[in-house]
């Protein structure tokens, strides 16, 4: 079976980017990725844009990005699955190359969120729950994950302290990532004392909305092997994707994301690896509880042991488990929803190349991304390997 390689990565600064339009953000990441890959625009066959359109005034975002990158007339299209839109774009590019239609595809995740008022964003995000029977009660995105957190605490004895420890770890690593929105360490006490958002989640249990863009350039095995390059090749060897009900009223339980465990199984099988082979992971920590569920859904620990996993520092570098979100995660990096999945891919490639500096996981050769759309309606799990 032929493989798909990552030839280049590019990552802009995440945060409140009042200095730039969404296509200007896309340009920064794209230019870096092209340079990193040692390619020129004429080498590209297509682009795929990951973004959530409701946040932008511009309709049909792919068109304006393609024009600003001066890539007409090559094909482009948009993928949308809420907060997993970036990984859907990666998967779509992978499929396009795998099919033999394209050889080199640029994947650009980009999003501007900070132009909307917070209450408007809360309303918009809350509507990723089912609007006919749930949103009419003022559900919010943190509110949904809070329902999971409460159920997880009840079923497995997970504590507020353990939730806070996720935030502490991710802020610690965010402080070592120049592209992160928050670059300050925090304490468990500070997290526990922060403003309540939706019990049991406080402000420090929640990631921040942000603007940002990231880009990866994927290529066929043949094209990758013939390209001149300075960096070791990283391969996207396993792709998994699964769905679960839109409504929390139709889920088997409210303390795990079945789409995540299903997607993980697919990706592990395709890449011929097991959870114990993963040496570094980027998981979707939109809320602290989401990272704890991810440890379990990905098989890094037994179901129900996610709280213990962070308490025992297993997900820190050198902690004896799988280092998770050592770039700060969504929590400290910020979460420009369409860019997040692509940002995760950038960090894993960086780690597998050995380029992560102060937050490098020693000798990492197998890495994973776990990108959740909405409240687990969609999950994409991707496994990357270095030669």
């Amino acid at each position: 079976m032929s493989r798909i390689a990552v030839l280049g990565i590019g990552h802009g600064k995440f945060g409140r980017r009042s200095d730039a339009t969404v296509q200007e953000l896309a340009f920064e990441a794209f230019r870096d990725a092209l340079q990193d890959a040692g390619l020129e625009r004429k080498d590209l066959d297509a682009t795929v844009i990951g973004s959530v359109p409701e946040y932008h005034k511009q309709r049909s975002l792919a068109g304006v990005v393609q024009e600003y990158l001066n890539l007409n007339p090559i094909p482009t299209w948009l993928t949308e699955v809420a907060c997993a839109s970036g990984s859907a774009a990666v998967r779509t590019a992978w499929m396009g190359i795998k099919s033999g239609l394209h050889d080199v595809v640029a994947v650009i995740g980009c999003q501007k969120m900070t132009e909307l008022a917070t209450a408007e964003i809360l309303a918009l995000m809350g509507r990723v729950g089912e609007v006919q029977w749930e949103s009419i009660f003022g559900t919010t995105f943190p509110g949904y994950y809070a329902l999971f957190a409460q159920a997880h605490m009840h079923a497995f004895g997970t504590t507020r302290q353990q939730l806070a420890q996720v935030a502490v770890k991710n802020h610690y690593y965010g402080a070592r990532n120049p592209n992160a929105l928050f670059q300050k360490e925090i304490t468990v006490e500070k997290a526990l004392e922060s403003e309540p958002v939706a019990s049991p989640l406080n402000v420090y249990d929640c990631c921040a909305n942000a603007d940002g863009a990231a880009c990866v350039i994927l290529a066929s095995e043949k094209r990758a092997k013939s390209a001149a390059r300075k960096k070791p090749l990283v391969w996207l060897d396993g792709v998994g994707c699964a769905t679960a009900s839109m409504s929390v009223l139709r889920r088997p339980n409210l303390h795990s994301l079945p789409s995540a465990s299903d997607a993980a199984q697919q990706a592990y099988r395709m890449a011929e690896v097991a959870p114990r082979d993963i040496q570094v992971a980027e998981v979707h920590d939109c809320f602290s509880i989401a990272e704890i569920m991810a440890y379990e859904d990905l098989g890094f620990c037994e179901k129900g042991q996610g709280g213990r996993y962070i308490e025992d520092r297993k997900s820190w570098i050198g902690g004896g488990g799988v280092p998770v979100n050592v770039d700060g995660g969504l929590k400290a990096k910020g979460h420009p929803i369409g860019a997040t999945g692509v940002s995760m891919a950038c960090e894993i490639v960086k780690q597998l190349r050995g380029d992560s500096g102060a937050r490098q996981v020693p000798n990492a050769r197998v890495g994973l991304t776990h990108n959740v759309g909405g409240i687990g309606q969609y999950t994409f799990v991707h496994v990357y390997k270095r030669d």
Partner: protein, 146 residues
């Protein structure tokens, strides 16, 4: 008139629009497939099991157990004047689940996962237009208007 359902309604047109009329009259209705008998809440017109489009409304007791809950402090637009409010998800006795606010009969400090609750149909009193919803209350709570 499904537009009656909810403080803010996002989906006024649906095949199960009569649900709101029943709720206004004090009845909580789920759906039952006429072909295979699949019963669920929230009601749905099209059967997810056998794909039949023939359904009937089925009276639900409104009895259920609390599955999980959260107290919302940061509200979305349209709900700012309600905060803080507590949302619960209940497993209904007959089938399915329901999400709603807690009513006045349950004190915040008494909320426990697994507790027995009664779903109670309600009308927004302060609104000039008809707006119906339901709350989670103590077992035995009845709706005053029926």
């Amino acid at each position: 008139m499904f537009a009656w359902f909810g403080k803010v309604n996002f989906s006024p047109y649906t095949k199960v629009a009569e649900f709101a009329d029943h709720l206004k009259d004090g009845h909580l209705k789920g759906s039952r497939c006429r072909k295979c008998g699949y019963t669920t809440f929230p009601p749905r017109a099209d059967c997810p099991e056998c794909m039949s489009g023939e359904f009937e409304f089925k009276e639900f007791s409104g009895r259920g157990k609390l599955h999980t809950y959260t107290r919302i402090a940061a509200a979305p637009s349209g709900f700012e004047d309600e905060v803080p409010y507590t949302i619960g998800v209940v497993d209904l006795e007959e089938a399915g689940r329901l999400l709603a606010w807690f009513g006045p009969t349950v004190a915040e400090s008494d909320i426990r996962i697994g507790m027995d609750l009664q779903v109670v149909p309600r009308i927004f009193e302060e609104s000039e237009r008809i707006k119906v919803y339901y709350t989670l209350d103590k077992p035995g709570t009845t709706w005053g208007k029926t």
